[in-house]
């Protein structure tokens, strides 16, 4: 043993190691996925249009050109006008703003709920887990959209009449933004069980990892283990489901509005545009009025899914 008991301090001169930041490594992998990059560009364009809609749109979404109703595409109205003379191109642009308000908010609220409830269930186990997971099972058993429709259609009139009874809230209701609340609430309530399940599953597997035992052996308190060790490791599925969830929320908002229980006219919503213009479908002169919003929703949903896939691959290099 004597000859191997030699130098302890490693005195071998070395170059300091070069380290690539995880962000750089991630971007390098992500950028190799053509579809994901394309999706990202589409999403950036969507964000841009949504944010700057008032300045980008040639007309306001409520402007009515009564001399020019049901007009075919022209230079003045690139996608034509609807029955009450509103410029369809402008409404398409304003629709992006509606989607941009509804989708991220409902996804983030759903995520927060799912994160809190899922990690509580996974970390504490026992009856906390049982109660949270049974509620999520019940919500999960409904088709999500049906449940959102139920909430939206039953709550909408009540909330609005309640808000109208408050003097200060009247202008807000009239502004048309009150209905956003109902839609966002409905979509958030539908969204959390999926996230909660993912988080709970992650926490349950991660809890068994030796590094959690090691952190406990260091004396790290439970809440700190949860926030500093468990949740950061569950970040990948959270980010991925966030991206996929955005696509889903845009589609769901459009669907609610399509059925007339979402965003109400005159506020622009792609789903409402589709149903309101549906009758034109039969007059072969104006299929674009249905196609344009439909295609927009479709392309965006694909874009979010491609980005989700790309994120998943780039964040999980070992899995692929």
């Amino acid at each position: 043993m004597a000859e191997i008991v030699a130098s302890t301090r490693s005195a071998i001169p070395q170059e300091p190691p070069r380290r690539y930041s995880p962000m750089a490594e991630f971007w390098q992998r992500f950028s190799q996925n053509v579809l994901a990059v394309l999706g990202l560009l589409i999403i950036i364009a969507f964000l841009f249009v949504g944010l700057f809609a008032p300045w980008l749109a040639p007309y306001s979404h409520t402007d009515q050109d009564l001399a020019n109703t049901e007009a075919s595409p022209s230079l003045a109205h690139p996608l034509g006008t609807d029955r009450v003379g509103r410029d369809q191109f402008s409404r398409l642009i304003w629709g992006a703003r509606t989607a941009l308000i509804v989708a991220p908010t409902s996804v983030i609220i759903g995520l927060t709920l799912g994160l809190l409830l899922g990690s509580a269930a996974g970390y504490f186990g026992g009856w906390v887990d049982t109660i949270i997971m049974r509620i999520s099972d019940v919500l999960f058993a409904f088709p999500g959209l049906l449940f959102a429709m139920l909430i939206a259609s039953t709550l909408q009139p009540r909330i609005e009449s309640w808000l109208l009874s408050i003097e200060a809230a009247k202008p807000f209701v009239r502004s048309g933004y009150a209905e956003f609340f109902v839609v966002i609430a409905a979509l958030s309530l539908v969204g959390w069980p999926g996230i909660a399940r993912i988080i709970r599953g992650q926490i349950l597997t991660l809890r068994e990892q030796p590094f959690i035992e090691a952190a406990q052996a260091v004396g790290v308190p439970s809440w700190r283990i949860l926030t500093h060790h468990l949740l950061p490791n569950a970040l990948t599925p959270i980010i991925v489901s966030l991206s996929m969830g955005m696509g889903g929320a845009i589609l769901a908002e459009s669907t609610l509005s399509f059925y007339g229980i979402g965003i109400q006219p005159p506020t622009a919503s792609w789903g409402a545009m589709i149903i309101n213009n549906f009758q034109f479908w039969r007059t072969p002169s104006a299929p674009w009025m249905v196609w344009a919003p439909g295609l927009t929703v479709g392309v965006l949903v694909f874009a979010f899914n491609f980005v989700g896939d790309g994120l998943n691959e780039a964040l999980n290099p070992r899995r692929s």
């Binding site: 008991v5 070395q14 190691p17 030796p210 590094f211 952190a215 406990q216 260091v218 060790h229 950061p232």
Partner: protein, 343 residues
């Protein structure tokens, strides 16, 4: 002098679907301040469960400490509340784990993990902790500490990770360091470096060490005293040299015969102990080593022997207690090197 750690009749069981696993079965031992106690035994003999029991980290369910006392600094750790236990973990008793890869959080930097104990226990600011982290990394022999602080565990070699884990364990100057097979997952040359590092740190810092290993060869360099575990029991204990010179439990004799040694050369075959350890669910009546024991007498099948004094501080749990020194001699036991302190 009262010992730093005094474990009395510790019993830990796992209540699984397949039955009750008798992992640790009433062991008693103590560790004095500044002393290094080696715990040896084949894998599955209950060493890790013992270590985790001391920190009350037995996963529950299915596990539970079912009996005994863990006296540390005058307190019975079985009775302290969870907050106090947390304040002891990593602060007064620190642990180094076997696998330096999986014991690190893969997505946190070395700095975050190395400084966590200091932030939690010593209330250090990020800067203070970082400064001490650099000193610690230097102390455990890591070159370019600044660069290593911002790396991730997978960017370090196994030996480096184990050095970092040792630095982490020492960050709050614990009174007792539990090292659970810290060299098992490493290459032989790296193993020697880590043993050497621990040896040096022990001299410089003077903490007590519970050194767990399944290899009597590596233990020898470090321990003042040895505990030999078999099937969740201590079957022999004693000071290092007497125990090596004259092991009195057939299991210890077998372990000593199976040490790979440089002087034997590669073609010389080892003498591993035949058979397998008992099933800890259907725990046997009598001495658990009986089925593998060449010396077994009828009494061994019916009665489990307690530890019996066989010499100065040496005790063996065996009805026969053969003189292992004589048995080993034909196989040139004289050449088993027991390094002197500080070599």
């Amino acid at each position: 002098m009262t010992p730093l750690l005094d474990v009395r009749d510790l019993e830990t069981r796992f209540f699984t679907r397949a039955g009750t696993v008798h992992a640790v079965n009433g062991i008693s031992f103590s560790v004095n301040e500044g002393e290094t106690v080696g715990m040896v035994g084949e894998s599955g003999s209950g060493k890790s469960v013992t270590a985790l029991s001391l920190l009350r980290l037995i996963p529950s369910p299915p596990g539970r400490i079912t009996k005994g006392e863990i006296l540390f600094g005058g307190r019975d750790l079985r009775n302290v509340d969870l907050g106090a236990m947390r304040a002891i973990r990593g602060h007064e008793i620190a642990m180094v784990f076997q696998d330096p890869m999986s014991a690190f959080n893969p997505i946190l930097t070395i700095e975050r993990q190395l400084t966590e104990g200091m932030r939690v226990h010593l209330g250090m600011s990020a800067q203070q902790a970082r400064k001490r982290a650099l000193d610690l990394l230097d102390m455990v022999g890591i070159a370019h500490p600044e660069a290593q602080l911002c790396s991730y565990p997978h960017q370090l070699s196994g030996g480096m990770r184990q050095r970092v884990m040792i630095a982490m364990a020492l960050s709050c100057s614990p009174k007792l360091l539990i090292a659970d097979e810290p060299t098992t997952a490493l290459d032989v040359t790296i193993q020697a470096q880590i043993v050497d590092l621990i040896q040096r740190l022990k001299r410089e810092l003077g903490m007590a060490i519970l050194w767990i290993t399944h290899d009597l060869g590596v233990t020898a360099a470090l321990a003042d005293r040895l505990l030999v575990m078999y099937a969740g029991q201590i079957v022999e204990e004693g000071p290092l040299r007497p125990l090596y010179a004259d092991p009195r439990h057939p299991y210890t004799i077998g372990l000593l015969q199976s040490i790979p040694r440089l002087d034997r050369g590669r073609q010389d075959k080892l003498n591993p102990i035949e058979g397998a350890p008992p099933d800890l669910v259907t725990y046997p009546v009598g001495c658990p080593f009986t089925p593998r024991c060449p010396f077994a007498i009828p009494q061994c099948h019916t009665e489990d022997p307690p530890l019996m004094e066989v010499g100065m501080g040496q005790a063996a749990a065996c009805w026969v207690r053969p003189h292992g020194g004589e048995l080993l001699r034909p196989q040139s036991i004289q050449t088993v090197e027991i390094p002197s302190q500080g070599s």
